[in-house]
Amino acid sequence: MPASASSSPRFPGTPSRVELQRLVFSFFNADVAARYWPDIVYGMWVTTYLGLAVVGAGLAAGLALAMARSFQLKPASFLIVVFADVFRALPPLVVIIVLFFAFPYVGLAMSAFTATWLALSLVLAAFAEEIFWAGILAVPKGQTEAARSTGMSRLQTLSYVIIPQAVRLTIPPLTNRMIAITKGTALGSVVAVHEIIYYASSGASEAGNPTPLTLGAAAYLVIFLPVVVLSRWIETRFAWKR
């Protein structure tokens, strides 16, 4: 630890026993951990729940928008592009804060959970729409023509022929984006959604000890490390080979 270099009198660079104890006392304090872990576990439930709700709503909305765009009605396409651009340009925290702090001024108050869910879903929808749309464009035109010539309707062509091929192309960028945005559930703590980081930082200031933050950090790893590892596997599994 860098701190020990300045204060260890005997061997610069090697932590003395006292400093190691201080480190353990600060970051891995069993008493503090025992007091705060139930809160953190409850926060994990809220984080998971919020994350799943965001993924569900964001992906569904993104797919719907990409499909709507593929019908190539000029005004509709234009609105979808504007939507996607705006929510890809705005930082998610800004969207949350506008929804939570600005909308009440016009009588549109919503709970912190709803604001966070809505903001992250909008952002994910914008990114997902662009990714799905790029995937749809990448499917060769002949596929549509062939499907249409067998008598399928446009909607049938889209949902049975184009989308299944497009989705396969889009899985690696989509999983990356999903992980990045569900990690954004931590931003909910700014408007006091009772998720992991909310309990971790309020616990840390209450106890005057950063152990709850360590617990919170560990909780995020418990939730997201498997997702990251799974995404690596999915990326190789679905790698499009021609």
Binding site: A89, P91, A102, E130, A134, L169, T185, A200, T214, L225
Partner: protein, 223 residues
């Protein structure tokens, strides 16, 4: 309608808080100007280390990258911000924030550059070496430029994400745009500063979004 103009687009209030918001913009830009170039450089370093193909080192780098992909940047920031003082380290706020973002960002840039280096055919390195270039020269003048070109959309996309990331610094009271906008909103009891901040972000970042979009469409279509 009048009410919406009054609380969202109030010109009088905007005039009053504008100097404050403008200082926030400058801090946002300053933070980005530190985090993006240093992040890019450390990303290149991570990727070049990976490219040495040392088994144990690679496993470590992979763990490093996965760790930071799984770790929300806000948690990292709060951990460093709240934890460093307990280690007896008192960094200035700018350094704390930059450090947290760099740890997060270098792993993302590293992963992108790694994919880039892998996309350059081995023949390029062999040809360059056979002309008498050293390994270092080969990397710098032959491999890296091609790698960078191949992953340009991802690099720009990640840069966009890094700039958006700077908003998190408002949580620890770093006086960037979002922080100042929220303070101004609290002082004026009016949503105009927040709406103005959102518009400023939109104006700053929209060109980047367009660029990324164009490049990405090209790269997916080519796959």
């Amino acid at each position: 309608m009048d009410q919406i103009l009054e609380v969202f687009f109030n010109v009088a209030i905007l005039e009053r808080v504008w100097p404050f918001l403008w200082r926030g913009v400058q801090m946002t830009v300053a933070l980005s100007l530190v985090v993006v170039p240093v992040g890019l450089a450390s990303g290149v370093a991570v990727a070049m280390l990976y490219h040495l193909h040392l088994k144990r080192l690679n496993r470590f780098l992979m763990a490093y990258v996965d760790f930071f992909r799984a770790f929300p940047p806000l948690v990292l920031l709060l951990f460093i911000y709240g934890g460093l003082p307990f280690l007896g380290l008192d960094l200035p706020l700018f350094a704390t924030v930059a450090l947290a973002f760099l740890l997060n960002t270098s792993s993302y840039y590293g992963e992108i550059f790694r994919a880039g280096l892998e996309s350059v055919p081995a023949g390029q390195a062999e040809a360059a070496r056979s002309t008498g270039l050293s390994r270092w020269q080969t990397m710098l003048w032959v491999i890296l430029p091609q790698a960078t070109r191949n992953v340009l959309p991802d690099l720009i996309g990640n840069t966009l994400e890094v700039i958006k990331l700077t908003t998190l610094a408002s949580v620890v009271g770093f006086t960037e745009l979002l922080n100042n906008a929220r303070n101004a909103q609290a002082l004026t009891y009016n949503a105009t500063p927040i709406v103005a901040a959102a518009l400023i972000y939109l104006i700053m970042l929209w060109p980047l979004v367009r660029l990324v979009s164009r490049l990405e469409h090209k790269s997916i279509a080519l796959r």
